[in-house]
Amino acid sequence: MSDIRILLAVSTSRYSRALVDLAMSEAEKLAASGTKQVAIDVLYILEGEDLLHISHRAGDQGFLGLSTTADVISTLAAEHHRMALLRIDEVKAAAATKGTPVSVMEVEGRFVESVLEQAGKVHYETILITRADRPFVSRILFGSEADRVARMVKKEGLGHVIIDDED
């Protein structure tokens, strides 16, 4: 079991290659500053609620039947899973070059709640999250989930949060 852990939270709509690099350099920095081993936990969140919205839109606004809507949702879910595997492979490859141990968790749920739940279970030195690429006006009007995670983590004293913009 490693002594220092870093949480890298990514999802279908939140991923940045720069954040992966940042996680690696953060791990290197922490490892260099002490004798403890550093490991990265990758939390991949499949945002099922987004699929629910699409299902409503296809059914209630597009008037597609239940069967067609279900086909669309299962197609999207399969694609999300494929995307998750691609991204996890990318993180693993980056970690392998640095010799940093990586463990991966794939969960289904909302981004904010999933990150907070995981951060509540394990003590993380640093939590890295991506801010979704949205227009500035939308962020002002509807707020940012990444900022919400940072606020909640700070309030609960669950670690130090680093936010990076999606590339």
């Binding site: 991923y15 606004q61 008037f63 039947g65 067609t68 979704a132």
Partner: protein
């Protein structure tokens, strides 16, 4: 604003009560005031969707007689009109095309022809999605094409940041959006618009002078072509080719076509029935009604067992009939009570307004609204208002029978606009910044429509102004 849904849910009845119980303004009848009260509730709920669109229609339909805006018999008789049954026919055609695999076969064969290089493959997805909308309702085309496009992306092993993957997905979505303006089979909103236009004329005792299938398509086709043309240019500009080796995609398409085998008897029957139906809609739609022809051929599809009732239940959301029936009844109540004419005179006291400016503003406002609201809801909201506006500014109301559904079908930007865009956003490959240039397609398409209405329609005997 912690729960926007509850807020919208409460705002609808509150606005309704406010309009219903205020002092009746001079010139407005009691029935007109009550109709406007029902409209206030329905607009709030259709726009913010705290409940499904059909639920709002049911509420509106029930409130019309309850509030004394319309007799129950009149309200419910409007529910069973031709337009509703034509829309049901439109969705049944989509159902049989999907169930028999005919639509998948046509799209795969079309794509195989285009799979020569990256540019052609992407343009092929755009064109096939667009063309298929001539027969199959555009949302169903999006649902059909999504797995095919994702299979292509997988076969090419493209990642989430691939330009080609994004272009392929957006080609599909923009192709179906542009294609939704092709014919009356492409979307249900055009049928709703024509029905509201016909009802508006009938309420004034004028000859309804129905706009036929071919006539509508001839008016909408140039705009649809302009949209797909502009979409191809914008997509090529935004996502230049990556120099991919297309062989895996070609093999994938070949495999899928080969797996389907030769065309089955059921597919041939479907093709024959639908082709005959379109011919009859064009030739006899005006005489017998679009709904009659659509129902007859739907019954034929069931009788020949190319479509089973279970398929119809699986592929069609029957809320569509409730949505359109309610919207038509509410539109009729607004016209027959004189509510919208009063509203227009109150808001625009002067009729000395340039009709072209009025048409332009209406088209831009409708196109803007449809980025945020379902296009069916947009038509249900704007048509009852636009038709008296046309009268007020000396514009032939016929022009709005085209301009409203066309403008409401130019939603190229936001995931809230159409199910097709919601689906491609749902893949995780696209962000808002990738679709914002869609505004260029909207501007170009609207310009083509306005130029056509201003200079070309008078040449074919359809003067828009007196």
């Amino acid at each position: 604003m912690r729960n926007p849904r509850l807020l919208a849910l409460a705002a609808g009845p509150l606005l309704c009560a406010l309009v219903a119980f205020m002092d009746t303004p001079a010139g407005l009848t009691i029935a007109g005031q009550r109709s406007l009260a029902v409209l206030a509730l329905c607009v709030t709920w259709w726009v913010f969707t705290p409940v499904g669109l059909p639920v709002t229609s049911i509420m509106g339909l029930a409130l019309l007689p309850l509030m004394g805006a319309m007799d129950a018999a009149d309200a419910f008789s409007l529910f069973g009109n031709q337009a509703v049954f034509f829309v049901i026919g439109v969705f049944l055609v989509a159902a049989v095309m999907m169930e028999t695999g005919l639509s998948a076969r046509l799209s795969l064969m079309g794509l195989r022809r285009f799979a020569k290089d990256e540019n052609r493959l992407c343009n092929g997805v755009l064109l096939v999605s667009w063309a298929l909308c001539a027969v199959v309702v555009s949302h169903a085309v999006a649902a059909l094409m999504l797995p095919i496009v994702l299979e292509l992306i997988r076969s090419l092993n493209l990642g989430p940041r691939s330009r080609t993957a994004r272009r392929l997905l957006l080609s599909m979505a923009w192709g179906t959006v542009a294609g939704s303006n092709l014919t009356l089979l492409s979307s249900a909103r055009a049928t709703l618009s024509l029905e509201l236009y016909g009802g508006f004329l009938a309420d004034r005792g004028a000859d309804p002078d129905p706009i036929g299938f071919l006539e509508y398509s001839m008016g909408a086709l140039p705009v649809s072509i302009a949209s797909v043309f502009m979409a191809a240019i914008v997509l090529r500009w935004m996502f230049p080719p990556e120099g991919l080796e297309l062989r895996p995609a070609v093999q994938q398409l070949d495999q899928r076509v080969s797996d389907m085998g030769p065309m089955s008897g059921r597919e041939w029957t479907t093709l024959a029935v639908i082709a005959t139906m379109i011919l009859c809609v064009v030739l006899f739609g005006s005489d017998y009604g679009l709904g009659t022809v659509a129902l007859f051929f739907s019954a034929i599809l069931f009788t020949l067992q190319t479509l089973q009732w279970e398929d119809a239940e699986r592929y069609v959301n029957w809320g569509v009939a409730l949505m359109y029936g309610g919207a038509i009844a509410i539109g009729s109540a607004l016209h027959s009570s004189g509510a919208t004419s009063w509203l227009i005179t109150a808001v625009m006291p002067s009729s000395d307004i340039n009709p072209w400016a009025a048409l332009g503003v209406a088209a831009v406002a409708t196109a803007g609204m449809t980025e945020l609201v379902s296009n069916s809801a947009v038509i249900a909201v704007v048509m009852p208002v636009l038709l008296p506006v046309a009268e007020h500014v000396s514009l032939d109301p016929r022009v709005f029978a085209w301009s409203a559904p066309i403008s409401a079908g130019l939603a190229f930007m936001l995931p809230t606009s159409t199910p097709a865009l919601a689906m491609v956003f749902g893949t995780g490959y696209l962000r808002i910044k990738h679709t914002l240039p869609g505004v260029l397609i909207t501007i170009f398409s609207l310009s083509v429509f306005l130029v056509m209405a201003r200079w070309l329609w008078p040449l074919v005997g359809l003067p828009v102004t007196p």
